[in-house]
């Protein structure tokens, strides 16, 4: 089971790099959606089969894999943008950063004191790498959609870390957290939509009116 899990985490880490390297927004959104779906499956793998876990998993997959990407795609189409042009951190440096970060995450995870049953999984390095990727996207991209994707990847990373605790935390809490995250991204999606309407663009370089 650990092997399956590791494959999935490895897939998620690879999707990080895809997200970092794709200059076209549809590709980015697709990578994020896929990562969300992959993550959604994991609790089912780790937990004993339970209707509640299944429900959570379905909700996750539906939210992260379908609803949010759809929202983002709609906004993207409305704003009539396809590409991330002239990002703050270029694609190649982003990729290098992401790759370096992934290696560093693996190294760091080796150094961290982990329980024996977690030491063999890629959960911690995958989580750290995703968080890092999320930050790179948040910091390095100029299109609001790309940033939202970055934020999603950041959350995915945290979700990965949360899987370490899946046996300890009560499901109610887990569900609440998931719900919050989903609603959060949903709200972000709405705001992106509104910004698109108010500013007629999703380029965050235009969103610097509020300043000292």
């Amino acid at each position: 089971m650990t092997a399956t899990l590791n494959v999935l985490v490895g897939l998620a880490m690879g999707l990080n790099l895809v997200a970092l390297g794709s200059s076209r927004l549809p590709g980015l959104i697709r990578a994020v959606a896929l990562q969300g779906a992959v993550l959604g499956v994991m609790p089912v793998l780790m937990h004993a089969m339970d209707w509640r876990v299944t429900l959570v998993a379905i909700a996750t997959v539906a939210g992260k894999g379908l609803v949010i990407p759809t929202l983002l795609r709609r906004a993207m189409r409305a704003a009539n943008i396809e590409r991330e042009i002239d990002p703050f951190i270029g694609f190649v440096p982003s990729l290098l950063l992401g790759a370096g970060g992934t290696i560093a995450a693996v190294a760091l995870a080796q150094a961290l004191p982990l329980l024996p049953e977690h030491a063999g999984t890629l959960l911690v390095p995958g989580s750290l790498a995703s968080v890092l990727t999320g930050f790179v996207l948040l910091i390095g991209r100029t299109k609001a959609i790309s940033q939202v994707c970055g934020y999603l990847i950041l959350e995915n990373g945290i979700f990965l870390f949360g899987l370490l605790l899946i046996h300890a935390t009560p499901l109610l809490v887990e569900a609440g957290i998931l719900l919050d995250l989903t609603v959060g991204v949903f709200v972000i999606g709405i705001i992106v939509d509104r910004i698109q309407r108010a500013f007629d663009t999703l380029d965050t370089r235009k969103l610097t009116v509020l300043r000292e």
């Binding site: 961290l112 949360g162 605790l165 300890a168 935390t169 609440g176 709200v187 965050t204 009116v209 000292e212």
Partner: protein, 480 residues
């Protein structure tokens, strides 16, 4: 049971508001719910219910020491909001009223949460529920502010989730069951895995610090406070920051129980002082009086952090300061809102002579400014003096010096802006403004009430509050 009422009543009211048909009558839900909430919280302040250790939610001493302040602030804001929404009939208020009530419910939940995950859920809920409030004005500026609030705040709150997981993992790694109630975590004490505890503290401090608005995570604050309606600013500055501070206090107690108290206190002290210095520097130059309030809030969050870093006496003073900050900042926001509406602008370059145009609001604004800069006899003076005393008592002389220096520069900055707006030659004819924005009792009295409460806190602190703060300090610093 009553404790749950504090959450259920506003949530139910929020649901009701979402369903209520009439835009004109819906705002009445605000003061009604606020009053009910005040009655409940004050009742429980006076007669605290027993809370079992294992409870996930409960009106425990810490909640008792802080929640009534939020409750009172909310009531005053609600009364103000009733009148405010009457002036804003051009915008539908269904979502606004519902979300504001939901914020109150989630704030109550956050204050009373005794479980790490629950706490996070409540705080994230507040964050999300506040979003429609922020862009109520519907201007591009408002959306920009909301966007930044969401992403910076969201990142912060995500980090605090990571921190919560780390703390949970510390428990599991230390051989615990992974029970994330604060009581269980603190009981595990030194059994918690130290590296994970430290990592958790860093992430949680950064995360909830973002919510509080500690520098350098404060960047969303001026934008959000500047663009949101006054009432939202007041609730954010007096309520949301408070709940984040409660979270930090609870976590600090756990982390200190794990045996890394001194390290943790040092980080709190440094980040608090840094926030004060940054706020002072920003205040020296800012020209927008609503953004000014945001930086002032950053400064006060710094003060709270410093208080929390200074041991029992400091935490006591910080609890005291939470009340003072909520109430005086509320009065400032409400009067600033009046001035903003009357003047139609909000920088020193465009606004002037408000003492002639809106004399009452200007008077409240000036009084509130003096109150918030620790001029006696208002509450903040007493709490800040106590923090200073605690700093000297714990031998943090340099910190005290930085604290005082920042207070001085903050005073310079605030007085510069406030008197720039209040004094001088009015830019618009007073008569014209009075037609557009009558200074009715409805928009004056709430602010006066808040100031009056701040004055009362300073001159004659109710003994029940003193007792509540004592109890909260005992809860946070259990005598072994």
């Amino acid at each position: 049971m009553n404790a749950y009422l504090l959450i259920i009543v506003p949530m139910a009211a929020a649901a009701l508001a979402a369903l209520w048909p009439g835009d004109r009558t819906r705002p009445w839900l605000l003061p009604i719910t606020g009053a009910a909430h005040v009655v409940l919280s004050v009742w429980m302040l006076i007669a605290p219910p027993a809370v079992s250790d294992a409870a996930w939610l409960g009106f425990d001493p810490l909640a008792r020491a802080m929640l009534p302040a939020v409750s009172i602030l909310f009531l005053c804001c609600a009364v103000y909001g009733l009148n405010y929404l009457r002036l804003r009939t051009e915008r539908p208020n269904r979502i606004f009223v519902a979300c504001l009530l939901a914020v109150l419910g989630l704030l109550s939940a956050g204050h009373m949460a005794r479980h790490l995950g629950l706490l996070w859920i409540a705080v994230e809920g507040v964050t999300l529920a506040a979003v429609p409030l922020l862009h109520f004005n519907g201007t591009p500026r408002a959306y920009e502010a909301t966007w930044k609030y969401l992403l910076v705040g969201g990142t912060g709150i995500a980090l605090s989730l990571l921190g919560s997981f780390c703390l949970g993992y510390a428990s599991i790694h230390g051989g615990g069951s992974g029970d994330l109630t604060f009581h269980a975590l603190a009981a595990q004490g030194a059994g918690l895995s130290r590296p994970w505890v430290l990592a958790a503290w860093v992430l949680l401090l950064a995360g909830y610090g973002t919510k509080m608005g500690l520098a350098p995570m404060h960047t969303w604050k001026p934008d959000a406070y500047g663009e949101a309606p006054a009432i939202v600013g007041a609730v954010l500055a007096g309520g949301v920051t408070t709940v984040a501070f409660v979270a930090l206090l609870r976590i600090r107690a756990v982390v200190a129980a794990a045996g890394v108290g001194p390290v943790v206190d040092r980080t709190l002290l440094v980040i608090g002082l840094f926030s004060m210095v940054v706020a002072a520097l920003f205040l020296l130059g800012t020209r927008d009086f609503k953004r000014m309030l945001a930086y002032s809030s950053v400064e006060h969050m710094g003060i709270l952090a410093i208080g929390a870093a200074l041991g029992g006496a400091g935490v006591w003073a910080a609890l005291f300061h939470v009340w003072n900050n909520s109430l005086t900042k509320g009065a400032l926001f409400l009067s600033a809102g009046n001035i903003r509406r009357a003047a139609g602008a909000r920088t020193m370059d465009e606004v002037g002579g408000m003492a002639a145009i809106t004399p009452r609001s200007a008077a409240i604004f000036v009084t509130g400014m003096f109150a918030v800069t620790a001029c006696p006899p208002f509450g903040p003076f007493f709490s800040e003096l106590r923090i200073l005393r605690a700093a000297f008592a714990t031998g943090n002389g340099i910190a005290a010096a930085v604290f005082l220096g920042s207070l001085l520069f903050v005073f310079f900055g605030l007085t510069r802006v406030v008197f720039g707006i209040v004094d001088g030659r009015p830019r618009t004819a007073a008569r014209k403004v009075r037609e557009r924005f009558p200074e009715t009792m409805g928009v004056i009295l709430p602010a006066v009430a808040l100031l009056g409460f701040s004055l009362l806190l300073g001159l004659a602190t109710p003994s029940v509050l003193i007792e509540a703060w004592d109890a909260a300090v005992i809860q946070l610093f259990p005598v072994p």
